[in-house]
Subunit: 374 residues, 2 copies
């Protein structure tokens, strides 16, 4: 029998952050594709679109008019998924199997730039730093409001990701509970600390403990050749296709030098490096299929409220800032991966190995194919 070849032999990998498995079936990319093609993202957008409800000076669908902003601009979602208190509390469960819990919160929209035709991949580093500053501001502001337990910053980019407007923007949903996925991740980060993991030279947390993410990043630094999963590395941040990636070109972005619970703890140098990794990753994404690459992005960090004493965190000592990018494209600018059928009913399945994806992302240039514009 031949030797195990991860790019030939189906196998299952384990995600220690979520506790879930992924079925890796790399030989599947050999099958011909007769399915749906996606529309290409339009590459001929106006710099200012009179019909866009996010452009400066235009009127939004809720009736408000945007100021003539020149950098980022944040407003409350006109159709929020969460409402502010007071909202009535659901009655006690009529049966133990039918549980409902109250929930309140706020939904914000952050416009990244006045230009309708840009995206993070085409913003200058100073501009990306404005976006990071705005994420940080809103994390603190919303986190200061009564009862907020989590500030979920995310971006849906591209019409195939359900984004209704190409104007560069993201969202922030702040809520009175820690949502399922970050909550599971935090639980697994704590489990890891408590599992007395093997000693390693990886950085410890501020509180002197091993950390799943810091340990994982440290291990990945040492991997070379075809096995390398790191896509971008700068002085403070790493972008890699994790061992357990589900989406074809899924990427995990994290600071790897020291323990950083949330956006608030970043030094100026770390912010610069953060802008650098975001710029290079989104450029590589666009270059991969020479299209404005669709994705969902989410920032995971410490829940709210922040600890009073920065030297002590009894509640979430294991939180470590990181971002997930989950782009749907698989084969080309118009052929995506569908996580359906088996994935919805049994478990996620991927068609190329994380190592193959990392290699392809490393191979593309980090100069944007349309050239950098400010």
């Amino acid at each position: 029998m031949s030797e195990f070849d991860p790019s030939e032999h189906p196998h299952r990998r384990y995600n220690p952050l979520t506790g879930e498995h992924v079925l890796v079936s790399p030989h599947r990319t050999k099958r011909p594709w007769h399915g749906q093609s996606e529309a290409s993202e339009s590459s001929s957008l106006l710099q200012h679109d009179p019909a866009c409800h996010l452009c400066p000076g235009n009127t939004r669908s809720g009736g408000h008019t945007n100021p003539r902003y020149s950098s980022t601009y944040t407003f409350s979602n006109d159709f929020p998924a969460l409402l502010s208190p007071p909202i009535p509390v659901p009655p006690a469960a009529p049966h133990p199997l039918l549980q409902a819990a109250p929930l309140h919160g706020k939904c914000d929209v952050i416009i990244f730039h006045p230009r309708h035709d840009l995206s993070i991949s085409r913003l200058s580093i100073p501009h990306i730093k404005h976006v990071i500053a705005e994420w940080t501001r809103i994390y603190i502001t919303r986190g200061d409001e009564p009862g907020i337990a989590y500030v979920q910053i995310f971006e849906n980019k591209g019409s195939i990701m359900g984004c209704s407007n190409p104007h560069p923007h993201g969202q922030v949903w702040s809520m009175s509970e820690v949502p399922s996925i970050p909550s599971t991740e935090l639980m697994n980060l704590t489990k890891y600390r408590l599992s007395s993991p093997p000693a390693s030279a990886a950085p410890l947390t501020t509180y002197g403990c091993p950390n799943l993410l810091l340990e994982y990043a440290f291990y990945e630094l040492g991997i070379t050749g075809d096995e390398r999963r790191v896509v971008i590395l700068n002085d403070h941040w790493m972008a890699l296709v994790p061992w357990w990636a589900v989406w074809p070109f899924e990427v995990l972005v994290l600071p790897y030098r020291r323990h950083i619970p949330s956006l608030c703890q970043l030094t100026e140098e770390e912010v610069d490096a953060f802008a650098d990794v975001l710029s290079r990753l989104t450029i590589k994404y666009d270059n991969l299929f020479e299209t404005s690459f669709a994705y969902s992005m989410g920032i995971h960090q410490r829940p709210i409220p922040l600890p009073k004493d920065v030297n002590r965190d009894d509640q979430y000592p294991d939180a470590h800032l990181h971002l997930h990018f989950t782009p749907p494209l698989l084969r080309s600018a118009t052929v995506r991966k569908f996580l359906v059928g088996f994935e919805l009913m049994a478990e996620p399945q991927r068609d190329l190995t994380p190592e193959q994806a990392a290699q392809r992302l490393r191979a593309v240039s980090d100069v944007h194919y349309l050239n950098k514009t400010d």
Copy 2:
């Protein structure tokens, strides 16, 4: 403060089968939709399409020629996600955070009917019974092969679900591990039994124990009026929008009269009633937006190997046969729900209540809008 109104006030519901939450934000359907529209499913399909690789007598992409079958026809997927043993085993984990496990199995395709232009919604009851018989046969046959732990039967229907061919067909992936989702469900079914749930008049399992699914179905039988979540009820089967549904028109289908671990245990009468509920549900789906309604469907049942003594099941005494239908459409034949951004990074969110969805499905006719054809 006003009273709690589930169709006005955002809240969170708990899914005891998977242990996950869903954020219910019903007022969100008020927002205008400017996002992507899906292509309508073609309604002018040929009865026999010379270009289709599933039609009788045609050649498949792998080079094989289909027989001139007249009922169902099953073959091995030409590009399977799983391979048969012997396949080499991944080496021991190079680090505890990078776990890989070996996995083997088989992938089958079941064609439901020779006619290219039909779907379950347009098959006669006798024909749907052929499909059920074929599902049962393959569950037994694949389950008899060495090392198989689970037989996952599913269907991806519609191009927006990544289905590459409208010819009515489903898939069966049989594998050497119980995949994540059924495995979590089985764990939660067992947890429920062990939690000493309150006494009830619901049917017990074959082994005299309470069962989460039988108890839940029994509770739903008693709900009337606007709160009713049951969509279809016949002598043996129930189709309902569960309390914890994620997809807009998600439906759970299950036998509710007695404990039935798998397809093998169905009596002839129960098979008739199964065909009836499948027919009526898929017709209602098509009628909802007058389109060939896309969905993923999966059958969850007892893992493999089946117990030697039918009166004793030490391994999976809590398994109860059920089907999940997860259709993506939300507002019309061309506007779907996108589970992206917040859903991928935080937790699923839905835009109408399960009760509203159930009401709309009950309200549509169970005679197909294109009329029944055999």
